[in-house]
């Protein structure tokens, strides 16, 4: 089960992260932003928007596989690892600058996910009768 969660969340975070990167690349491709048909056509002529949709579908499939076993509360929290990976990639790929709050927040998210991972390896308590 540990392996199932590890691989599952890794795949989920990759899909979620690349979806956001693809949306950013789509938006850059479609510059300047404007409420017009021309902008919609520019968005749809970008290959990245289709990559983003593909990543969304991949993330959905992965999430539904994970939820067969994963409890929703901790799993939903753990899926926010995406926030950290998107922040990191935005610095590397798009030269964005992040401040101290983003670093502290990322550290808190990672600490929380470490807690969730440890609590999972300690063994799932038997589910109480509904």
């Amino acid at each position: 089960m540990r392996r199932f969660y590890f691989i599952g969340f890794l795949v989920l975070v990759c899909f979620d992260t690349f979806a956001q990167v693809c949306f950013k690349l789509t938006a850059n491709h479609a510059m300047p932003p404007e409420a017009s048909l021309a902008w919609v056509l520019r968005v749809m002529s970008s290959p990245w928007v289709y990559c983003a949709i593909g990543c969304y579908i991949g993330a959905f499939v992965t999430w539904m596989v994970l939820l067969e076993h994963a409890p929703i509360g901790p799993a939903f929290a753990a899926s926010h690892l995406e926030v950290v990976s998107v922040l990191a990639l935005s610095v590397v790929l798009f030269d964005e600058h992040i401040g101290a709050p983003q670093l502290i927040g990322s550290a808190l998210i990672l600490a929380g996910i470490v807690c969730l991972a440890i609590s999972e390896t300690e063994g799932e308590p038997p589910a109480a009768a509904p």
Binding site: I72, P101, A111, L116
Partner: protein
Amino acid sequence: MSTLVVLLWLANIVLDTFGQLSFKAAATGPDLGEGLARWRAMARRPWIWLGVAAYVAEFLVWLAFLSLVPLSQGVLLGSINIVAVMVAGRMLFAEHFTPLRTLGILLVACGVAVVGIGA
């Protein structure tokens, strides 16, 4: 915050929590089978479609919300969804609040809120 902002915020919490719980309801159960059969069984359940509908509605509510508040505040306020889903998971799926699990979830929620503060 104006009334509309509060209403959109509450709608976002409700839709996000309802959607996630629907996905969980669709994904679990003893009679789902394996592989492709599992997907066919899930597609026959209303829950997966209710979840998708909630997700689409949430997307629109979130866009409206962000048109009224800055993204940083949106992310900050959105972090409460993590706690809402945790509480709902306990109430509807009898998920346990072990101390480490609760700490982990709260740390993630605080982390998302702090990221929002500085955005």
